[in-house]
Symmetry: C2
Subunit: 343 residues, 2 copies
């Protein structure tokens, strides 16, 4: 992971003033349009001209960060149980940073390790440093309890929610993700011989919801899963469990893997038998991590919208009228080369 793509050269910098001049509006108007703020009335015509000028000049909105200077109280605290210990979940931090900057806010980042006492300390430390609102994030979709201190401040939950669902939260639409995976297989003609791989019980909200979505579509097509291969969500356990399953002589038409790491293990197991994906068996998965694009053939996978969750959490935090409800974020499918018709 150490090779630079050609570094983006220092392109000539377009200023907000240049955009405003080209659009024939004031700098303030241009700033309001490009930062997405809605607390100033701007005509649709002016807004259109600003956006067009910005496009034509290739103006990058991060420039708005200049006004960070005059808004030193605009500070948000992001509290996460884990930071980037997962392969690509750090994208949610990036989404949050991007949105915060567009709204001229800075971001404290803290890792709680899931420890309520550490979280309370971090909250207090952040409050003492002028933080006005919090994002409480979880690396895995789950039901959480949050410190009572947090409830006294603006807070949005990211990738988690409280049991009563009485706080604003953003989580992936796992059930719909499950439906889309099942639909994809239905459209290719799979009916019998669809095998789910991955433990789907325990605290894992994701697994349960995905399974529910999958079953809903299969039932509507008059079928059901042929089997569930139970294993942890890692390549090696999946490789072992699927190898054992196939050793019994079963011949699935498609594997639904609850994440890309499981799919990696499934590839290893079927390729060891000399089977080709998708000619001999189809594989479809959840995550759309880098791994999905690296496998051979590349893996069709439903994305966890980490960046979008991070972005949306900040948007909701800064909006004055955010409802105290769970907001589902779509999980787009990235189609690659691992799904075909039944053998």
């Amino acid at each position: 992971m150490t090779h630079p793509p050609p570094p983006p050269g220092p392109a000539p910098r377009i200023t907000l003033r240049e955009v405003a001049e080209r659009a024939g509006v004031s700098r303030t108007t241009a700033s309001f349009v490009l930062s997405g703020r809605r607390d100033m009335r701007i005509s649709a015509d002016a807004e259109g001209r600003v956006r067009q000028a910005a496009r034509e000049l290739n103006y990058r909105p991060s420039l708005l960060a200049r006004s960070l200077r005059t808004n030193s109280s605009q500070t948000i605290g992001l509290l996460s149980d884990q930071i980037a210990s997962e392969m690509f979940a750090g994208e949610s931090v990036r989404g949050a940073l991007t949105s915060a900057l567009q709204h001229e806010h800075l971001l404290f980042v803290g890792e709680t390790g899931g420890d309520p006492e550490v979280e309370r300390s971090l909250i207090q430390g952040m409050l003492d440093r002028g933080v006005g609102g919090f994002v409480h994030a979880s690396m895995y979709t789950q039901v959480v309890r949050i410190p009572s201190t947090l409830r006294r401040h603006p807070v949005v939950l990211m990738n988690c929610y409280t049991r009563g669902k009485r706080l604003p939260a953003v989580i992936p639409d796992e059930a719909e993700g499950g439906r889309s995976v099942a639909r994809e297989l239905m459209e290719r003609g799979h009916r019998d011989g669809i095998v789910l791989v991955g433990e789907h019980t325990a605290q894992a909200v994701a697994g349960e919801e995905r399974l529910a979505g999958i079953r809903e579509v299969l039932t509507a097509h008059g079928t059901d899963l042929a089997a569930i291969v139970d294993c942890l969500w890692w390549p090696d356990p999946a490789y072992r469990a699927v190898s054992e399953f196939l050793a019994t002589g079963r011949r699935p038409s498609a594997f639904i893997c609850l994440n890309d790491r499981i799919a990696f293990g499934v590839y290893q197991a079927v390729q060891e038998l000399g089977w080709r994906v998708p000619h001999d068996v189809s594989v479809i998965s959840f995550d759309d991590s880098d791994l999905a694009g690296w496998l051979r053939p590349a893996l069709t996978s439903v994305a966890i919208p980490y960046f979008e969750m991070g972005r949306l959490a900040i948007e909701l935090l800064l909006k004055p009228d955010t409802p105290a409800a769970v907001q589902l974020v779509p999980m787009p499918m990235h189609r690659r080369d691992s799904v075909g018709s039944p053998a």
Copy 2:
């Protein structure tokens, strides 16, 4: 990447007071020992007792965060060109967070996208919010120019350095990493037929330094690389380049891959020919990313010390007498199952 390991339960919380009592020292003394501070004279005996008590009680030092409350100016800004857009580089952010917390500091995190103007804005915004020092980080080891504003404040560079090397910096010891990889192959008896895979020129400090270290050891053993297969540091380009190379009839004894993604592509190419790793060909790599443990057989790889670089950058920033020099961080080798004797 969505499955929770069993969440760490809320273990009974050991306080600093309990550690101090067991060690027979004051709370302040215990705090100084456990936070690694050196600005108070503490006897080796007392220090030993505190450390032993902490071990026995399973005391977690993050508790030190409690005093965040009274030190609202203790704030550090971490400026990175990219945040977590790479697979595991976010570990450096984690290392920085961990160390900052141990020293009762909080961390602003900002992503510059490599844009000096964005960086200047972020710096100003952070200064306005009480930041006293900065870590300027790069996701790929490289020579950088930093904004002049930064030079007026305490700053440590992480995974990068300035041309004159006149600022404190932490970077991986790439040359020694290269030597250790070559030594590993020498010890297994490889001499001829060692092939390097990956582009090693361009701005990539890592590639050049690793190659220099590798060649140093090979020369000392009276040999040299049999070939260099030039390709981008990704699975697909590596797969194609190595497949083409092998199609000429060459039969290497070992591949040195400049990162784990390249090694993934090499595995795909050789396994397609029916070769087994390491029986038919050895593979060794750099990164020690998650991928290394997921490949079959698991891949021997030299780690990029992201967490340690993050941790060390903060330590150096907070030490009063940090020299303005580049500090090399060791790259430990994680031996797995991909290196054997020549076929």
